[in-house]
Assembly symmetry: C2
Homo-oligomer: 387 residues x 2
């Protein structure tokens, strides 16, 4: 039976690859809705090529503009548009690939309507992990991670093994500054920070990879997805990005998921789950050709963001929400050449220190903690301005 899929964030890196998966496996999927943000031109091409039943764009103006080109198409907009597509009973599964905290609302809308979620948006679980996972449990909805690390862990835990987990091992390439000195990182340009050695991704996540905040957010996400204590989640630097993560069980046995570094596999896995399919781009891993896999400890002195994320995670309450908000603003400011790369952890740390935590179990609390973090970071920028 075909699955009906909606893709929120269809013009981003993950969204485009998801549309390729659906095209590759056209006998397995129907497309229902697409949603995009600023990239209206790409969305127009996608509408023509993939023929969605409904779309959603950022604002009313874009919706009206687009309506001129596609008068017969249902065109929604804003937060409500995302929620309406995600929550439609037409869907079997919704891919949440919008970036930032905007992913939270449609995720909740899908779960509330008993629709499985393929989750490519880290911030949803970092900001609102307790809320989202409790709701998913209550509604008996699958949250299938799309991040390569969490997809790896998800694939490593068979149903009979899920009660015997001892430890999660999250791997990371180490990013473009893995072997660089702290001095070089201090004066890193945006271009250098965006030059990721292994993965081709959006700019926000690529900067997070350069600071290792990405691994930190993944640790928090893994904590919620797999219900594992922070002390039992380890980060290991693995430059070749072949082992995408692993799970150690009580008996000392470790199950790892490996593959060529391509998002195609985890995206396809999430959409075809619980089945696996031969996709057009499912390359074979050649261990002999790769020849060697290396592992090292992350350097918390050069990458304090990872330490801060563990601290926020362990402190719980609204700290992870605030960590994420502070980081999102700091990364924006770095991408606008306003602050140095190494100021990102400074801004995050200062915000965490000043934050008065709340429980963060309902959506309003989470949103106000998120706003507090954003405002704090914005107010702080002057202190760090480069020029």
């Amino acid at each position: 039976m075909r699955k009906t899929v909606s893709i929120l964030g269809s013009t981003g890196s993950i969204g485009k690859q998801a549309l390729n998966v659906i095209t590759d496996l056209s006998d397995k999927f129907n497309l229902f809705g697409l949603a995009a943000g600023a990239n209206i031109e790409v969305l127009k091409e996608q509408i023509i090529k993939y023929k969605p039943k409904v779309i959603s764009v950022r604002d009313k103006k874009s919706a009206q503009e687009l309506k001129k080109y596609f008068p017969g198409l249902e065109i929604l907009f804003g937060k409500e548009g995302l929620e309406e597509i995600a929550g439609s009973s037409q869907n079997d599964i919704v891919l949440i690939a919008v970036s930032g905290t905007a992913g939270l609302y449609p995720t909740i809308a899908a779960i509330n309507n008993n629709i499985d979620v393929a989750l490519a948006n880290k911030e949803t679980l970092v900001s609102a992990g307790s809320l989202v996972m409790n709701l998913a449990k209550e509604k008996n909805v699958n949250i299938i991670p799309v991040d390569s690390e969490h997809s790896a862990i998800y694939q490593c835990i068979s149903s009979k093994d899920k009660d015997f987990i001892r430890k999660l091992i999250i791997t990371g390439s180490g990013g473009p500054f893995r072997t660089k000195h702290l001095n070089d990182m201090q004066y890193a340009t945006v271009k250098q920070a965006l030059a990721h050695p292994r993965w081709s991704m959006g700019s926000k996540i690529t900067i997070d990879s350069a600071t290792l905040m990405n691994k930190g957010l993944e640790v928090i996400e893994a904590h919620w997805l797999f219900n594992i204590d922070y002390k039992d989640i380890n980060v290991v630097i693995h430059p070749q990005s072949i082992i995408h993560s692993a799970v150690e069980f009580l008996d000392g046995s470790v199950i790892a998921q490996m593959g060529v570094p391509s998002m195609h596999i985890p995206i396809q896995y999430a959409l075809t789950y619980p089945q696996r399919c031969k996709g057009l781009k499912s390359e074979t891993l050649n261990l002999v050709q790769i020849s060697c896999l290396d592992f090292a400890e992350p350097d918390l002195n050069r990458f304090p963001c990872l330490k801060l994320a563990y601290q926020a995670g362990k402190s719980g309450q609204s700290y992870p929400t605030v960590l994420n908000a502070l980081n999102e603003i700091a990364v924006e400011e770095f991408l606008s050449n306003k602050i140095k790369l190494t100021d990102i952890p400074n801004i995050v740390e200062e915000g965490l220190n000043k934050h008065t935590p709340v429980h963060a179990t309902d959506l309003n609390e989470i949103i106000s903690a998120d706003e507090w973090g954003r405002n704090f970071a914005k107010d702080l920028i002057n202190k760090y301005l480069v020029n």
Copy 2:
């Protein structure tokens, strides 16, 4: 609920470790029977320490001798003794850790009586894979492999993934001659061949590791256990023996099982399956400390046994049975210093070339093919005698 276990081959390397597992997890297991071959002194100690309900020894004489020490104990002997213990309805699971084709009869006895088998004996499936697996399917009995490679593969295939396998990747350390020249191998002493770099095992399997026949037998065993074509089973040399084997699925995703090189984990896994338990010796894998994992293609020129095993496997019928029989005798002769290490593949190849295959689907055919191979190898020894 406790499982009742019998251990056939209790004085060997696997058997001893299995008794440790049962002692470690004494709240999970009851011991029913033990069986041993020549090592009566160790068996006596085991009887005192582990208090089995029944034992079996090699022959009547040993049984009578032992009866003097343990007058109240039920003492069986020979092939029938092994079968009686293995087939007893007292058992929940039987560990078959006797070496050679002697493992075949009790395996069949256990399956016929609907008892799960933890299989540490390679020859059973190499010689009689079709027969044994068909019987296990008919009786709905689990054959849980104990070999580290097959245990790894077994652990990598979750029930929802079993129909989507593309390839098995069997790893091997490469043995003591991995980096040696063919000349050195020609003049290798028994002691050199027994000096395995990673695994502490019995002498037969250690010599098989030195010739890579061990990997060849594992390929054939994997073919039967997991019902995978020979062309889809790859052998990769991995000197650190951390990745114990892996499975590639249709979508390009590879699931691997890793751990410290210790038989404790696969033995415990087979006995506690489908659960996992914290054992006393379940060491943690430290990837950072290991630092690097290497992979290479096996060299079929220096290790022709691997090529011969693939050929025998692909040819099917009684060829694998004969391969195993020829190899067993050749290894014995090498261990007795009668032939050179590099004559093992010559003897196997000559036997395979001369063999007239039969279907090998019933036990009599298998046994006569096995005998043909043994006799052929014995007759051939004079040609290769060192002195």
